[in-house]
């Protein structure tokens, strides 16, 4: 009932969207892994990064991608400080619940400050190539979406290598898998947790910049994103980055294809239906490990 070209186009869009979702969700699942924290402010930081990219582009006229040179280290430091100064103050017994509220508060703070500084006006980066596309078997692939996808692929691959190969990555993975055992091995899990947080935010900086290339941004945009991202990390298995990536790809594709028969609004419900289905059928997630079992 749908023409071949439309299906092909939708599959391409779905894959590109899935890649973006994977990038945006990676940080969220990373925080959970190292600290058992649901970072509600993650999407707010994405929007903040997008604003910084836009501001950078407006002030300098240079390509917004160059703003990554500033925002990535900046966000890493913010993440480390956030963990050291704020998260570590919470009592372990109530950490999960209270961290949700604390990061919720941070999200409101960021949204308020964005509105205060740059008003509620919708912004969009103007790029000479924003409408450009290349042809692919009759379908079209937008250049900006490809750049976003490439950013996602490169940073997720980088993250994977970092976790697999580096000393810090190994410590991070040990902390994710078993905090107490990691402590016994002499890993300073508090410091590792703060690096994990910093890393999550650094990815958020990349994600936000990727987002800003092909979307308007406004301060309350983060509410639009946090729901689907949370669904992705639950479906993927809380704390599992490959799981989140797989779930992101799957749900991005599903959303894109379901849009054909169901329309935009109802297609969005796929995230929440997947979320509820996951919790009922397999609370530990479909792709991740056993971590999530008790959460």
């Amino acid at each position: 009932m749908f023409s071949g070209p439309l299906l092909l186009q939708s599959v391409i869009l779905g894959v590109l969207l899935g890649g973006l979702y994977a990038l945006l969700a990676a940080g969220l699942t990373l925080y959970f892994g190292v600290m058992r924290v649901v970072m509600i402010a993650h999407a707010a930081f994405l929007v903040l990064a997008a604003y910084l990219a836009w501001f950078f582009n407006r002030q300098t006229g240079l390509d917004p991608l160059l703003s990554l040179a500033v925002t990535v280290p900046l966000f890493f430091v913010i993440g480390v400080l956030m963990q050291r100064v704020l998260m570590s103050r919470l009592r372990p017994a109530t950490l999960t619940m209270m961290s949700v509220l604390l990061t919720f508060a941070i999200a409101m703070f960021i949204e308020g400050m964005l509105g205060f500084v740059w008003t509620g006006t919708q912004r969009r980066i103007q790029l000479s190539y924003s409408g450009a596309s290349i042809e692919f078997f009759g379908a079209r692939i937008a250049v900006v979406k490809m750049i976003a996808f490439a950013l996602a692929a490169v940073s997720l691959a980088g993250l994977y290598l970092l976790l697999k190969k580096s000393r810090m990555g190994q410590a991070l993975r040990a902390t994710i898998q078993h905090k107490e055992a990691a402590q016994l091995l002499g890993i300073n899990t508090e410091r590792i947790a703060s690096y994990g947080f910093g890393l999550g935010l650094a990815i958020a900086a990349i994600g936000g910049t990727a987002l800003s290339l092909d979307s308007t941004i406004y301060p309350s945009l983060h509410w639009r994103w946090i729901g689907p991202l949370m669904a992705i990390i639950v479906v993927g298995g809380l704390g599992s980055i490959p799981g989140a990536a797989a779930a992101a790809m799957l749900l991005g594709l599903a959303q894109s294809l379901l849009q054909l028969p169901m329309g935009t609004t109802w297609a969005q419900t796929v995230f929440y239906i997947a979320l509820f289905a996951t919790l009922i059928l397999r609370p530990q997630g479909f792709f991740g490990g056993r971590l999530a079992q008790r959460f």
């Binding site: 439309l6 186009q9 409408g131 509410w223």
Partner: protein, 406 residues
């Protein structure tokens, strides 16, 4: 719960009760001076509707300034009290409650956005106030039995494209588009504009091949654009606000979709629009209730005054606000009263039901539900500037059809 907590509770409640009532006693101090007409307005200055909200604010403020420089209203100075409703329905109702009861304003003007007009109009109605509003154009606003409500613009949302529909249907069969794609935001106003045109074109035999509705917070238009592009519809119509139109147009361009005609509500009239789309605006259509070039007598003064004070020509939001001021002022001058008494407000309402008012958007009159009885102009980007192309009598340039490639 131990007893010391209870003590604390008691103290807190009493203190806060006193604080709230205490504040209220002080509130009377803002009561009007006898030689002033106070006007209360609530606008979305922050939050999702803040962009057009600010435009409306500029329009209101310009109008008040102009009136005060030109002899005032019934010889009295006009003073505006503008509150921010944070784009929130609870707040907008509470704001009018405050303006009417606390500040005891003589008149109220309407807020922005259909979603906020209805709760606000209810409050005004309950206190018997005249409610002229610059922005609640959706058809549903006028079906709720608000006898006190008047929309200060030429036409309700569904009639915005009337001239365009007439022109398209009048084309010779060979040129006439055969298929149309519609995409509109799930918002009463935006959807109203697109569906108004859709109804008329369908009746004229133009087939609808895509009909998409998306939630207001949608930022990814890839999927919708794909549907439209692969349908190869002859024309595309967007029931849009601002950001969604920009995103949709860019997404359509990414897919290299080239319609013969592309019409989007609201966005193209925004001065930011050409910057957002770049050099690809040529041929994009939009309905507008207002053009700075219109020859109506009061418009010339308005454009002149506004340009002098603000440094640029007014947009549609500013004009609608100014129109609201003109409409209320006309009623006030005619019935010679401007005070909160139900008697005076009833006279004002009655006047507007029975009379036509000259405004910057032309002469306006209303039916019993407050629907204006005019039509919107159709604008198009021609040679990089937005021009009136329809109706014939008011056109500044010829309609470009089919639209050049973007």
């Amino acid at each position: 719960m131990n007893s010391s907590k209870r003590l604390l509770f008691g103290v807190l409640v009493s203190v806060s009760a006193l604080a709230v009532t205490g504040c209220s006693q002080g509130g009377g101090a803002t009561k009007t001076v006898a030689d002033e007409v106070t006007i209360g307005i609530s606008l979305p200055l922050t939050g999702d509707f803040s962009e057009p909200g600010k435009g409306v604010q500029r329009g209101y403020e310009a109008w008040a300034k102009y009136v005060n420089q030109n002899g005032g209203l019934m010889g009295k100075k006009v003073r505006l009290t503008i509150l921010d409703d944070q784009s929130n329905a609870d707040r907008v109702a509470s704001d009018y409650e405050k303006l009417i009861n606390r500040d005891k304003v003589d008149l109220v003007f309407g807020p922005f956005s259909t979603r906020l007009v209805v709760p606000a109009a209810q409050v005004a109605k309950d206190y018997g106030y005249l409610f002229v509003e610059p922005a609640g154009a959706a058809a549903e606003v006028f079906t709720k039995g608000f006898g006190n409500l008047f929309y200060a613009a030429p036409a309700v949302a569904n009639d915005h494209y009337n001239y365009l529909a007439k022109t398209i249907l009048a084309m010779p069969i060979s040129q006439r588009p055969k298929t149309a794609a519609y995409a509109s935001m799930d918002d009463p106003f935006a959807q109203g504009t697109a569906y108004g045109l859709k109804g008329k074109l369908e009746a004229g035999g133009i087939k609808t091949v895509v009909n998409e509705v998306y939630p207001p917070d949608t930022t990814d238009f890839g999927g919708i654009a794909a549907k439209i592009a692969t349908s190869k519809a002859d024309i595309v119509v967007g029931g849009t606000q601002y950001q969604d139109a920009v995103n949709l147009i860019v997404a359509l361009q990414q897919l290299n979709y080239q319609p013969k005609l592309a019409a989007f509500s609201t966005a193209p009239t925004n001065p930011e629009f050409p910057k957002a789309i770049g050099d690809k605006t040529e041929g994009i259509l939009a309905p507008t209730g207002y053009t700075p070039g219109a020859a109506w007598p009061s418009n010339v003064k308005f454009v002149d005054f506004y340009t002098k004070t603000n440094g640029n020509a007014p947009g549609e939001d500013e004009a609608n606000a100014w129109t609201t001021g003109e409409v209320v002022a006309a009623a006030v001058e005619a019935v010679k009263c401007a005070d909160p008494s139900p008697k005076c407000q009833a006279k004002l309402i009655d006047y507007l039901h029975k009379n036509t008012v000259e405004t910057v958007v032309g002469p306006l009159s209303w039916d019993k539900d407050g629907r204006p009885q005019g039509a919107h102009l159709i604008q198009q980007y021609v040679k990089g500037a937005i021009r009136i192309v329809l109706p014939e009598v008011q056109k500044e340039a010829d309609l470009l059809y089919p639209k050049p490639q973007w």
